[in-house]
């Protein structure tokens, strides 16, 4: 329900019969209980009616007057139904379609000819109920639509968060698996460590291979290797009885450090020598380049 002040603007429009349906019905309900607004509407109607005087008067044809006065004889007058006792009382007490002649002007002003045969009161109740229903549905729809939109965006944002969490979880799992393997290597009773030293190709380079002699799981760390040229990579070799078995290829960081996990093949576990060569990126099945690191098992 609107505040008293909000009816003031509608009052002015109603006084000019320019208010729209829903606001007009709102106002009518308010007028039933507000003497101040009723009085103001009466005054504003008067001010509005004065506008009629601004239009240039036009004299009707004389025949019209004759015709009108002649038709009075055949036009029955309706007897007074002044509701003195109910004056100012609720509209609901008024018989349908009857009211002081100059009271219903709000409705008269926007009377739709098609509604002429429908009880105005019944129509009003139906219209009020219908408009309440429409307004309620509109409000509910608006609320649901907004809630739906909010939920959709919440779901989208949660989906994104879930995807990110999944990714992080996967990363954490694989890191954990690596750490677990490293730990297993380090605590294994069959842990073996080999030191590799730089050759003339990289005299200050150093490396260490730690591996589980039972599983072949290995950790390789290197330092002070010169960065591999573009298109090249270092590759680890397990040399058993003079035959090099390929390990993984790796690259260093900008400071010449490298760290990688590898698995020594079963025959590689018998290797007497470990070596690192410079090979085409991705590595080869057999060594082709210079040896950079070398150590005995």
């Amino acid at each position: 329900m609107k505040g008293h002040d909000e009816y003031k603007e509608i009052l002015s429009l109603a006084a000019l019969d320019a208010a729209d349906g829903a606001e007009l019905r709102d106002l009518e309900a308010h007028l039933d209980s507000c003497a101040e607004c009723r009085a103001e509407l009466r005054e504003l109607r008067g001010a509005g009616a004065a506008l009629a005087l601004a239009a240039p008067p036009v004299a009707p044809s004389p025949e019209l007057r004759t015709r009108l006065l002649a038709s009075l004889k055949s036009t029955p007058q309706e007897s007074a139904r002044r509701l003195s006792a109910e004056e100012g009382a609720s509209r609901a007490t008024r018989p349908p379609g009857r009211a002081p002649a100059n009271v219903v002007s709000l409705e008269d002003a926007r009377r739709d000819p098609r509604r002429a045969f429908v009880s105005r009161r019944a129509f009003n109740l139906t219209a009020v109920a219908a408009s309440l229903l429409v307004v309620s549905l509109a409000v509910v729809s608006a609320v649901l639509w907004r809630r739906n939109a909010a939920l959709n965006s919440a779901v989208a944002s949660l989906s994104g968060a879930l995807e990110r969490a999944r990714g992080e979880l996967g990363q954490t799992r694989s890191e954990l698996a690596v750490a677990r393997r490293e730990r297993e290597i380090l605590i294994s009773p069959e842990m073996h460590t080999s030191q590799l030293a730089g050759t003339k190709m990289a005299e200050s380079a150093r490396a260490r291979l730690v591996y589980d002699e039972r599983t072949g799981e290995a950790m390789f760390t290197a330092a002070k290797l010169p960065p591999a040229p573009a298109g090249k990579a270092y590759q680890l070799w397990f040399i058993a009885d003079g035959k090099p078995l390929p390990g993984s290829a790796f690259n260093t960081d900008a400071e010449g450090r490298a760290e990688m996990r590898d698995r020594i093949p079963p025959e590689g576990l018998r290797a007497q020598v470990f070596a690192v060569t410079l090979e085409p990126a991705g590595g080869l099945p057999a060594p082709s380049g210079e040896i950079y690191l070398k150590g005995a098992s």
Binding site: L16, D20, A50, A54, P57, P100, A101
Partner: protein, 194 residues
């Protein structure tokens, strides 16, 4: 009740006489207001034939329902004007758009009334109202006249002027309040508008 009501008989007295079946009283009301009401209705309908039809309906309605007129609810003039506008607007809306376009195209120049008998006094009032209107802002005046003389609703006015509905409401209220203030005390006694 006098058989021939004089000008100083108030509108309300005339209506009471009409309610008692006094045909002369209705004729007196007609003579007082027919020109003003026809001018107004013609503004809305733009067709002399349609407008005269409406005018006749209005006075027949006054004849039938004068007994129901309640002076406590407003002045007789206000009632007459409201009836006339309502019927004119109903008629306008009942016409389909083609009929309306036809009416608009055959807009007749509205001749100023020349029948001077009762109208000198009324046109003097018209001067007062026109003077008051001229003191409104252009926007306020346009809004009021679109509502009153063209029978447009607030929404239609907003569309016509390409203004937000809120602006139309504000202008309507400001304009009408100003009219009320400017016209207060101008029409005294039997001719009081409000």
């Amino acid at each position: 009740m006098t058989a021939r009501p004089e000008r100083d008989t108030s509108d309300a007295e005339l209506l009471r006489a009409v309610a008692r079946g006094d045909e002369a009283a209705l004729a007196a009301l007609y003579d007082r207001y027919a020109s003003i009401l026809l001018g107004l209705v013609l503004r809305i309908l733009h067709s002399r034939g349609e407008a005269e039809d409406v005018l006749q309906e209005v006075f027949l309605q006054v004849w039938r329902r004068a007994a129901d007129f309640d002076e406590g609810r407003g002045r007789p003039f206000t009632w007459l004007v409201t009836l006339a506008r309502s019927r004119a607007i109903d008629r306008l809306r009942a016409l389909d758009s083609r009929g309306r376009a036809a009416l608009a195209s055959q807009r007749e120049p509205t001749e100023e009334v020349s029948d001077a008998s009762a109208d000198a006094f009324r046109s003097e009032q018209g001067e007062i109202v026109r003077a008051a209107l001229s003191q409104l802002s252009e926007e306020q005046r346009t809004t009021l006249l679109l509502a009153y003389h063209e029978g447009l609703t607030q929404t239609e006015i907003a569309e016509r002027l390409k203004q937000p509905l809120g602006t139309v409401k504000t202008r309507t209220r400001a304009g009408l309040m100003k009219m009320r203030e400017l016209l207060a005390g101008k029409f005294e006694g039997a001719d009081a508008l409000f």
